[in-house]
Symmetry: D2
């Protein structure tokens, strides 16, 4: 039977502990490499901002290793919430939002029901993923609203069941935390909010000892992906492309200039979000091109 | 039989005429709304930088109309060229390119053959599109290297056969020009060059009289798309999202705030290029969501 | 007696001719290197947007030369206008401007009188300069609202009497134009408008044959300055700093890395404007540091 | 006699404690509002990156108050160090730095002696200031390399003797820390390093109870200043201008639109630095304009 890591009761959540990824927090659980666990997560729209469940320690993880997190499954609740929030979102200055609005969306059989203003319901296929997942930074306490080298609030729809996320281990034990599951999200997460849910996530965590990466990566059955976060957005893209060149060079023997030319013909680049403290871009390359 | 608009002989190309979109150039042909024409185009790697074939006048086009260009087909040659160029490309400062390199790629039966350094050939499926297509601006002469409201060097792979590009008419006759066909391109066009080809493009040009748009749009069989170009890249994305909100509001009766919330759940956003004088983002929405 | 180059009558101004810098316009006057001329300029708030007086041909100017323009004097009228314009300005999305407002400021004895809302008058010392001055680009027609390598709408208060502006010659005859005199402007020109005036500018134009520069430069009695224009703003600053390193290396024998270290201790950097199509930064270095 | 707050011995410095501003660190001293203290600071080029001395608790400080820090004096040592560091600095990609270089500069009688490559010494007038000074954030541990709302690594030369810095209190006791004194710095701190020194700083700390500010401010004898930090650089400028508008509106009764128009005529805007995780701009307005 799979071990379940419970989230804190909502009344115990506090920003100082639950809205940061940091080496200051003691682990709430320790898992062995290769172990499958279920982790309960809070919605980003909870009492405190974007709380994460964690830190979870990975036995034997050391700085310089890579933490591998296979997303085995995500169990969605029967509803989620979305919102617009004045002062937040990519078009805020243009739309001149005056007040916060929230909508509740029913979720049933993998479909999300969106109630349109003025009547009518639109159905969106659920495509759940983990919005915030990251390791502890070396010495900072990073706000869970921010993405970065450590992962964090990447809001990247590719961190989804069937895929494997890789994160650099920066502290002994890795000390990862997660939350902010989205039942579905558009690229860019343009108003700043997706369909936000409490969830139960099943993960298989593993270690790649001695493999050092600089930024988060994802492997899907068909593709390799690199994730960069920065402002302005082109710098996020440059980081992700640079990381892909390095990956091709280091693991697949490409000349860097050749990899660069080739990505200009064959890469895919998706905007994950343009609303968080750093913006996030995912660059993808089909595995078919990486056979030696 | 379809009329063919010929490109200039290469020895007659000059920057002052062929590397700009401008009302200063006299039309080389006039087509009727609804007419199908073939247009010969030059590769961007020709004697002058990124030459366009044009201006082509659309009979009856007036500022405030929308020019509709259906891309019926693109005829590729048997080879294309790609390159890296010091001083150009998104990773130039990092890779520290010292010299220009060019590769010739064979194109056969819809497949592009890329010769990898150190041996081996990679096959990429051709996905040809028009890299540069735009109308004359109101009074400037805009370098064909730059995208903008007028279209131009958007390097957007969605301007492809089967899709329909919409451009705002800014001068009587629209005066559009095109060139820079790519046999295939990765998102971001990261090194600044795709598989560059001379080509013959078949277009059906039409007018939507009295329909005013502010930025280029694309319609595919399944999706509506808006294209924004700006620096930094997030501003390109903001333009494209804003245009999509306006489209939903104006043509499909959405409340703008509702459209904004919905795009945050259902939009797709692709980086077209991060190498030209302005950067380009495409935002997409599936048509299934736009029935009234 | 100084020759005077008249501006066009206002009713003859048109965007296609007067709101661009371009080789397409025939010169309205030809001056000899070293000649002093008076040039009448239009305010940016005239019938057409930001009209320039020109093109003025410099006898013997060839691409690869540097045009030197000493600003001998600026004659101000007895009033100027300032404005806020919805959709324009650096804080537009935050202030949510609903309508255009214009204020007229009396100018007398070198002082500008600003009428504060609610009563009271504030006196600002006039510090007039040329907001828009540039040469013809090689083959484009650049909107006079935009700055660039060619000069243009730099809105740089250092282009003022007593200083000398240097511009790269890109077309035979240089073909420069100017307008948009400001009686005074704050750094950043934050609302997008300064105290805009019609004016008469006295210039001494000269040539530095065979001296090639890439971006505009200014020399004051005490300082050397480089001007960069780009988006985002840090790229404008990078251009200006890079140009200063090149200047120090090329004309004063500095090692580039040494110049870089030294500027990190001794440069001044002012934001000229953050409201035009490209943003502008001026980097300054005191001449005392450049003796060999 | 003035109390002196000692810095830690160098061998005890550690990133986890000394390279962050955070509520997790216990105060090393408590001072009363109005008290003058001397604080020893470490150079940014010490064993750990940019260590700060602190946290110093201000008796009675509560979130919503403003911490006022008058810089009474800075005692410089007899030498400082400057450096270029591959991978760091605003022109790194262009200059293609291959190795770290460091220079030692003698400091004597308020003059800094810079040894030019190839011989010769340049004298720069010392203009010492505190590069990094900030309060504890509400719940994060912010890297001392980063500036922000809390102050931090603003690298703003206006935080100098004779001026008064205002910071928002975000945690009880304010918990401020400081370090990174620069004997002199150019605007932009373009290579990423100034003349870095160990120093002794004399401060008079005070509280403005119940006065809430959102970002750091400075008062000099003649000017009011607001400091914004963000990427891209224009966003830092927008923050600083917005804060100045708010200051004028809140404390001096200006209409916001009027303040906006006026700043467009009378503000000064300096680039403090373009090398840290967020970039910093200072906007200044002469006090003469703010009499009621």
């Amino acid at each position: 039977m799979v071990r379940r890591i419970k989230r804190k009761p909502v009344e115990e959540l506090e920003h100082l502990v639950d809205s940061v990824l940091t080496p200051h927090n003691p682990p709430i659980a320790c898992v062995k490499p290769g172990e499958v666990v279920e982790i309960e997560t809070w919605s980003a729209l909870t009492k405190v901002t974007n709380p994460v469940t964690g830190p979870v320690e990975i036995e034997g993880a050391e700085p310089g290793d890579t933490l591998s997190v296979e997303i085995v499954g995500i169990e969605l609740p029967s509803e989620g919430k979305t919102a617009i929030i004045p002062g937040f979102g990519a078009l805020e200055g243009w739309l001149r939002l005056m007040e916060r609005r929230m909508k509740t969306c029913e979720i049933k059989d993998g479909v999300i029901f969106y109630q349109k203003d003025g009547g009518g319901t639109l159905k969106i296929e659920a495509d759940p993923f983990i919005g915030t997942i990251g390791v502890s930074p070396e010495f900072e306490a990073i706000n869970t609203l921010s993405p970065g080298r450590h992962g964090g609030n990447m809001d990247c729809p590719d961190v989804r069941p069937g895929n494997r996320l890789m994160l650099p281990v920066l502290r002994p034990g890795a000390l990862f935390g997660l939350g902010d599951v989205h039942a579905v999200q558009g690229d860019g997460e343009v108003c700043g909010v997706a369909v936000e849910v409490d969830a139960v996530v099943t993960l298989k965590s593993d270690l790649e000892k001695g493999r050092k990466i600089d930024w988060p990566r994802v492997e899907s059955p068909d593709e390799f992906m690199t994730i960069g976060s920065a402002r302005p957005l082109e710098d996020a893209a440059r980081i992700a492309f640079r990381e892909m060149v390095d990956w091709m060079a280091h693991d697949y023997g490409w000349e860097r200039e050749d990899a660069y030319m080739f990505l200009s013909l064959a890469a895919r680049a998706r905007i994950a979000q343009i609303v968080d403290p750093l913006y996030t871009v995912v660059v993808k390359l089909h595995k078919r091109y990486l056979g030696r």
